[in-house]
């Protein structure tokens, strides 16, 4: 069991990085396989149960703090013997960025591992301790791995510090000392990266060599794992370096942004320095009263219920309102299919057809057509203008495809329309005869040219009063 426990701590420690920790499910899975190697030929479910049991005991599920407490005695300076509590955790559950729970090994647990690795096997008695044997047997490769991993932690630590400082800078430039300590920090971080970069590239060359020339599969596997770790280290160094390079630029941008921000004029109690910090240092006994004072005022009011027995009785005897599961019936809306009434009287359309039945040889001006329309019907001029405007955009190709004999076209030749109701260009309205395709070459000169004429597009007609 203790061997399993050590293995569990080892698993968690190796999976730890600064973003998250080890996922409990994976640790349980890995631990089960280890248990299976330890005691083969047992049902699979048992391995998992064992793994979970070990994990839960390392976390100490069941205690309020999820930790351990050891009591030790100490003789103080005045010769007085006192018993004291030492609280520690081995595996901690921490929230990950995605809201899940991850496992991390505490400093105490890592100390146990590091201590185990650094022990000289020949001389130390503890080396005989079977619990640690498996760990030590992993040999020299582990040392390199530990060193690389420590460097990776430091890189992550640098990155974390840099991120904090940059965030603080974006809140208030003055909160971070950019005069001396920030440049020092950046220089130091860059030095660290440079040193690690050299060292790890050397390691990488060496272990890649080991991996390729290893004679046992186990050693090959170990070396391959180490290559991965070192590659990851190098990747993280590069990340940090990119961050460092951007730091100066970000500072200058924030400085520009904040130069003109107004200074807060008034101040109140400093909650952090004057309340939080002192109270954290207080003994529980004193803090209890002080914090209760804060809480009572800060938490707002509780509204006690003033109950009248009659109301309670009424509420109790009132039958609950029953609701139909599917709600009320939905009535079908009645829709009629009446056609939309035409915008103009019917006779107008007849007049219009007559008006526009032009002789292909004799185009007419819009003004003339309008004059005639006014005599026929009061609403006809507007209809005429609408139709003529639509014609100006008519396409000749489709009309020919549909076998029409002729198409109406309206041409803008620059003459201004002088009319009481409408303003714009006095268009030339004409009926162009469409010539069948085979005769196109000789005859369609007129139609084709006009279709391409840009002035055939919608002319700048403006309606006055009729809109």
């Amino acid at each position: 069991m203790s061997e399993l426990a050590l293995h569990a701590i080892d698993l968690v420690t190796l999976a730890m990085d600064f973003d998250a920790g080890a996922s409990p499910e994976r640790v349980v899975a890995d631990l089960s396989t280890f248990a299976a190697r330890q005691v083969p030929e047992r049902p699979t479910g048992e391995y998992e149960r064992v793994a979970r049991w070990v994990l839960e005991n390392l976390i100490n599920v069941g205690s309020a703090d999820r930790g351990f407490r050891a009591v030790y005695g100490l003789t103080g300076a005045d010769g007085h013997y006192e018993r004291r509590d030492f609280d520690f955790k081995l595996l901690e559950e921490v929230p990950g960025a995605d809201g899940d729970i991850y496992l991390r090994a505490s400093n105490e647990a890592v100390n146990v591992l590091v201590g185990a690795l650094e022990i000289d096997i020949e001389s130390a008695q503890i080396a005989a301790d079977i619990r640690l044997e498996t760990l030590i047997r992993r040999g020299r490769l582990s040392d390199a791995q530990a060193a690389a991993q420590a460097a990776r932690y430091r890189t992550i630590q640098y990155g974390e510090m840099l991120r904090q400082r940059l965030e603080a800078t974006s809140r208030d430039v003055r909160s971070v000392d950019w005069l001396t300590s920030m440049p020092d920090f950046i220089a130091e971080a860059l030095e660290h990266i440079e040193a690690r970069y050299k060292a790890e590239n050397a390691i990488l060359v060496n272990i890649t060599d080991v991996r390729d020339t290893a004679d046992t599969p186990l050693r090959k596997q170990q070396a391959a794992a180490l290559v991965e770790i070192v590659r990851d280290c190098l990747r993280r160094h590069e990340q940090l370096q990119a961050g460092l390079q951007n730091a100066g630029r970000r500072f200058r941008a924030e400085q520009d942004r904040q130069t003109f921000a107004p200074q807060p004029a008034r101040a109140d109690i400093d909650l952090h320095a004057q309340l939080l910090q002192p109270v954290l240092a207080l003994p529980v006994h004193d803090a209890d009263g002080v914090l209760s004072t804060f809480f009572t005022r800060e938490a707002g009011l509780t509204i006690p219920l003033a109950l009248r027995l009659v109301d309670l009785f009424t509420a109790l005897v009132t039958p609950p309102i029953e609701r139909e599961l599917l709600g009320g019936e939905i009535e079908e809306p009645e829709l009629s299919d009446e056609p939309e009434p035409p915008a103009f009287p019917d006779e107008c359309y007849d007049y219009l057809d007559g008006l526009l039945d032009l002789d292909p040889e004799a185009p007419r001006r819009l003004s003339g057509l309008l004059e005639e329309a006014r005599e026929l019907h009061p609403e006809l001029p507007l209809l005429l203008v609408v139709r003529v405007l639509a014609l100006a955009a008519q396409e000749i190709g489709p009309a020919r495809r549909h076998g029409a004999e002729s198409v109406l076209i309206a041409v803008d030749d620059g003459t201004v329309l002088e009319d009481d109701e409408f303003a714009g260009t006095d268009l030339l309205v004409a009926r162009a005869v469409l010539v069948p395709p085979q005769e196109l070459e000789e005859h369609s000169h007129m139609g084709g040219a006009r279709a391409d004429d840009p002035r055939l597009s919608l002319p700048s007609m403006r309606e006055r009063g009729a809109a």
């Binding site: 976390i59 999820r66 809480f295 509780t302």
Partner: protein, 265 residues
């Protein structure tokens, strides 16, 4: 207006104060009463007297917040720490009470990190459950480091739990935890902070704005008024214990580092 009507109006205003989610800008009657309180001295005096009779004290009456009233210690309206801690599943012991109150104090501190924020009527703070948890934990760790530097033996005496320092209680408690049925552990610090913020949101003091990082909340003007009052009172009590210090109001929360921080890396 007759005396009876004035009294009725005063109590109506107080009744609005008992519904923290109502604001004058949403209710014509409320707005009228607030305006009357601010312009009619006699009405204000009657309201204050009525509040006093109920065991309340009026902290602020503005268009923005409405009437903000806090309870006196022995009032029926007071939220008692013991009850709160019990209601949230704690055992109601001193250690539990302290943890719950710390969560509230931490939330207030993170919501108003600079002294000027607390004085600024228009300031809106934003807090998250994970943010508050990490913040209090970091503050506790700092106090711990200081204690170790000063050579104190920080391990508490067995058998005298009342003398244990508050930061120890907080640091010792698990941050989060899984329970068998996939829920989060309520007695963890994250659980306690989450409870605190949910409670404040129910009280109309915070407004939930999202689910990021365990739950994101923004403050209301009413919360600022309550925190200011609570902070002042607590400061008074700390002064009586001779603990706290007077600062120059520039704020102490800043990210700074000394050369030793760099060497420690």
């Amino acid at each position: 207006m007759s005396g009876t009507e004035t009294t009725a109006d005063a109590n109506r205003l107080l009744a609005f104060g008992l519904r923290p989610k109502m604001v004058p800008s949403r209710d014509e009657e409320y707005r009228r009463l607030v305006q009357r309180f601010r312009t009619d001295d006699e009405f204000a005096a009657v309201t204050a007297a009525a509040a006093n009779g109920l065991g309340l004290v009026i902290l602020e009456v503005t268009e923005r917040t409405g009437i903000v009233a806090a309870s006196l210690d022995d009032s029926v309206f007071a939220v008692r720490m013991g009850e709160y801690a019990r209601r949230t599943g704690g055992e109601g012991k001193a250690h539990e009470r302290v943890l719950h109150a710390l969560a509230h104090l931490g939330a207030a501190t993170l919501a108003f990190p600079r002294p000027a924020d607390l004085a600024d009527d228009s300031y809106l703070g934003r807090v998250t459950v994970e943010g508050v948890e990490a913040f209090v934990r970091e503050a506790a760790n700092r106090v711990a480091e200081k204690a170790v530097e000063e050579g104190e033996i920080t391990d508490p005496s067995s058998g005298r739990p009342g003398l244990e320092a508050v930061w120890r209680v907080y640091v010792r408690r698990a941050r989060t935890g899984a329970t068998g049925d996939k829920r989060k552990l309520y007695s963890s610090t994250t659980g306690i902070v989450g409870k605190a913020l949910t409670f404040l949101a129910d009280q109309g003091l915070l407004v939930r704005t999202g689910d990021d990082r365990g739950g994101t909340y923004r403050t209301t003007p009413r919360y600022r008024a309550q925190v200011r009052e609570a902070g002042a009172l607590m400061f008074g009590e700390l002064l009586e214990l001779g603990i706290t210090e007077v600062t120059d109001g520039t704020g102490s929360l800043a990210v700074e580092w000394a050369p030793e921080d760099v060497t420690r890396l």
